[in-house]
Symmetry: C2
Subunit: 193 residues, 2 copies
Amino acid sequence: MARQREFDREKALDAAMHLFWEKGFEAASLSDLTSRMGIQRPSIYSTFGDKKGLFEAALRKYTSAHAAYVRANLQNNSSVKEAFRAFFENIVAKEYGKSPNWGCFCINSMVELSPHDEKFEILTREHQMYLSVIFQETIERGLRSGELESGINAKRLAQTLVVSLIGLTVFMKSRPERLFVDNSVKEILTLLR
Amino acid sequence: MARQREFDREKALDAAMHLFWEKGFEAASLSDLTSRMGIQRPSIYSTFGDKKGLFEAALRKYTSAHAAYVRANLQNNSSVKEAFRAFFENIVAKEYGKSPNWGCFCINSMVELSPHDEKFEILTREHQMYLSVIFQETIERGLRSGELESGINAKRLAQTLVVSLIGLTVFMKSRPERLFVDNSVKEILTLLR
DNA sequence: GTTATAACATACTGATTGGTATGAAATTAT
DNA sequence: ATAATTTCATACCAATCAGTATGTTATAAC
């Protein structure tokens, strides 16, 4: 018994996600958002509450898609070492393919908002914890199959790979020589022995 | 033949540095800055040009102090392995000591500004390159003394430690369980064999 | 003491910020 | 068709933004 919505909520949210990803929370203005989302200001407020609410919805959309991407990538390959190698090299290749490099929306948000807003501190941390679990399960698969040495501490190594991934992603935002990054990936992967 | 400046340029710059460190470039307003620096708006503009100029001066002050800190820390210890262990553990302990955790000003700036401003892309990248050189020199000292295995690639390992340090610093902003970070540090340090 | 110069504090600028009030248009139940 | 309801576009709000114009105050050269 009312007028039907004219815009696609998910498409609009996707546009907001990309803008926040590029610019961060502060630098993305409502004017930017309305033009990129293709909707008017009151539609944003009625649908997402306020700017922070929209940001949170966008970040949640990103993290769930990102987790699915990581999971699919690591399950893709029967060899665990090869899976991690391809995963890291893909990320490097992808980031060097586009210019400029916006990095990871979740990591960007961790840097910008975590110390100022507990909600985002938790949200961004939990995503990294989730990635760590995916990594750990993959490593444990390699232990079971005998591909990895039994002396490996799966949890500890998974945590280290998460930290390394964050470091790589952030550092690539400053566009260092690719050799620097490639070297680091090689060295990190030696931990999978 | 003119009135003398009433404020201490370095003290004012130091206050600006800490505000930008906490809030980032966008979120730190001129009103914030004037009140924290203890000077008036025109003094900022006459001394530092504009907001970006002030930010750049603050970041340069930070990076040079940070580089000196890192250098001093690693030269402090005759054992290279011990020096890196103490260095990483100090950083972790320091970050967990204070709440909230503002991370590293240079890394924060890399995330916020590098993709949007080439000047800061270069400035932040060069600082990481400089840290990498310090790390490399320290590793080479360990190779010469025989403390480290001769098979180690000093440059590659130094680059990896830089990436790991970035990852740790960023991740700690989300205040993960300390065990997570401690585990990562232990695992990373196994690369120094 | 006079004059030139630079730093000072105050107050202001136009533009932009996040957020909202208002009324028209559209849809469905009755 | 009418009434009820929700979305829409437009226009607006006070507050804040980065940056500056202006006039006063202090200093140094002469």
